[in-house]
């Protein structure tokens, strides 16, 4: 992991890159973006500089929400509200690639890590990402619980009762496999 903190332009580039990769095809919403960036930080070890807290919908960064607004205001991504489905859709614009280029010095050295996480989790629904992201949060803040499957499952269920036991177990297994294959301690 690089020690250099990403600049504002680097962070905007990351948002633009995710919108470009996942955008409209994958129905990237605000919640999904939050979870993807959280996973990049926790599983991909990409130092994004965002701080996440645990809220009703799982890990959330206010700084990331602010940066998304800013990139959208500059036309770097489009954030359109769909009133019938009551959600925001993030997608790329004609300026997205330019925004990515301006953070090239950050994106390039992290490209492999970013691709790995996006390839694995990029196409998921926000609801699925919320579960994986909750597991990632527990891993960070309660490593003892994370190490033990039984306590991890119980903690995740208590934090997120809307998920069935089978869903939790399957997500846990997937996360641990992903971390093992990435050569990191799980």
């Amino acid at each position: 992991m690089s020690d250099k903190s990403p600049s504002n332009l680097d962070r905007y580039a990351l948002i633009a890159l995710i919108a470009d990769r996942l955008g409209e095809k994958q129905r990237l919403g605000k919640k999904a973006l939050q979870k993807i960036v959280h996973l990049l930080q926790e599983f991909g070890e990409v130092r994004t500089g965002y701080r996440f807290s645990f809220y009703t919908y799982g890990p959330y960064s206010t700084e990331l929400a602010g940066d998304l607004d800013l990139v959208a205001a500059k036309g770097g991504v489009s954030v359109a509200y769909n009133s019938s489905d009551n959600y925001y859709l993030i997608s790329s614009t004609s300026r997205t690639k330019q925004v990515v280029e301006k953070g090239e010095s950050f994106i390039k050295p992290n490209k492999t890590k970013i691709d790995k996480v996006l390839d694995k989790f990029g196409g998921r629904l926000a609801k699925d990402l919320e579960l994986v992201s909750t597991i990632a949060y527990v891993r960070r803040y309660a490593p003892d619980e994370f190490a033990n499957d039984q306590t991890l499952a119980r903690l995740v269920k208590e934090l997120k009762p809307k998920y069935e036991d089978d869903e939790i177990k399957s997500a846990m297994a997937e996360v641990k496999k992903f971390l093992r294959e990435g050569g990191r301690h799980s």
Binding site: S7, N8, L9, Y12, K30, K31, R51, S53, F54, Y55, T56, Y57, Y60, T62, E63, A65, G66, D67, D69, L70, A73, K74, Y81, S83, N86, Y88, V99, K102, K127, T134, Y137, V138, R140, Y141, A142, P143, D144, E145, R154, L155, E158, L159, K160, P161, K162
Partner: protein
Amino acid sequence: MKADKSRRLEHEDYSAAALEFGLKDVIENHPEAKNHGIGIRDVLSVFGASPATAGVLVWKDLVSGQMDADRMDYLLRDAYHAGVQYGRYDLDRVVQTIRLCPDPETRGHHIGVDEDGIHAVEGLLIARFMMFTQLYFHKTRTIYDFHLAECMRHLLTKNGGEFPPTRNISKFLQWDDWKVLGRIAEGAGGDHGEIIRTRQHYRPVFMTPEVASDDDLLRATELEEKLKALGCIARDAEKSWYKSGPDEIKVWRTSGGTAKSVPLATLSPVVNGLTKVNQRRLYVPISERKAANEIIQKNEEKKK
């Protein structure tokens, strides 16, 4: 839950430790708290993710969310003490219109606002925006954050430049305003303590517009590099001053006989028009101001 010891301690960790240390008895023995079955663990759970947190996530919004009690309070208090009017808004109306909204997705509830509270909440958000740009991110107030942080690092040299960890919370709590200001007044605060004592703070020599374009930010980065030898430091308006908290403020809206919560920004052109401030400022020691200005001017001429 055992915390991850490798991560850096944050202010929420200290808040939790201070609460447990100083208020455990008060909370657990208070008749109201007893009546409602609230113990110290329930209170602490709003600071992290634990089994107990699951039951209080909705209340977390009231402590650390878009319309949390702390923010609503400090806007009014800071405006009063700073002698400015920017922070004023209709608190009573906001409180009257706050409600719990059913959330089919989580099968729980989230904090929202009634539709007729929209304008009161707009007032709150505008007050927050004005306080941020006019007071919290004021060019002089901001640089004192830097001087104070450096001064604290100096005062805490024996402790490796860091505050005592949460397990020594009583020692941490000794570092109050009286102790710090006393040390600075005694001349024990190092170079930056001296800067604070004599009010010879670093001066801004360059700043981007409040909403900086990519080119503005690149220019600031380029200048920062050129001014490095003069001890230049950069300050960014990174704080998300309005759309903070889990997603945006939700409005409980009834339409065609059905009700659902929708984001405030979709109903309020005022809120939708508020953009995050990403201004970057460059500061140099007061003694280097003239040299810095010359470098900046030369740089401008080269660009022409």
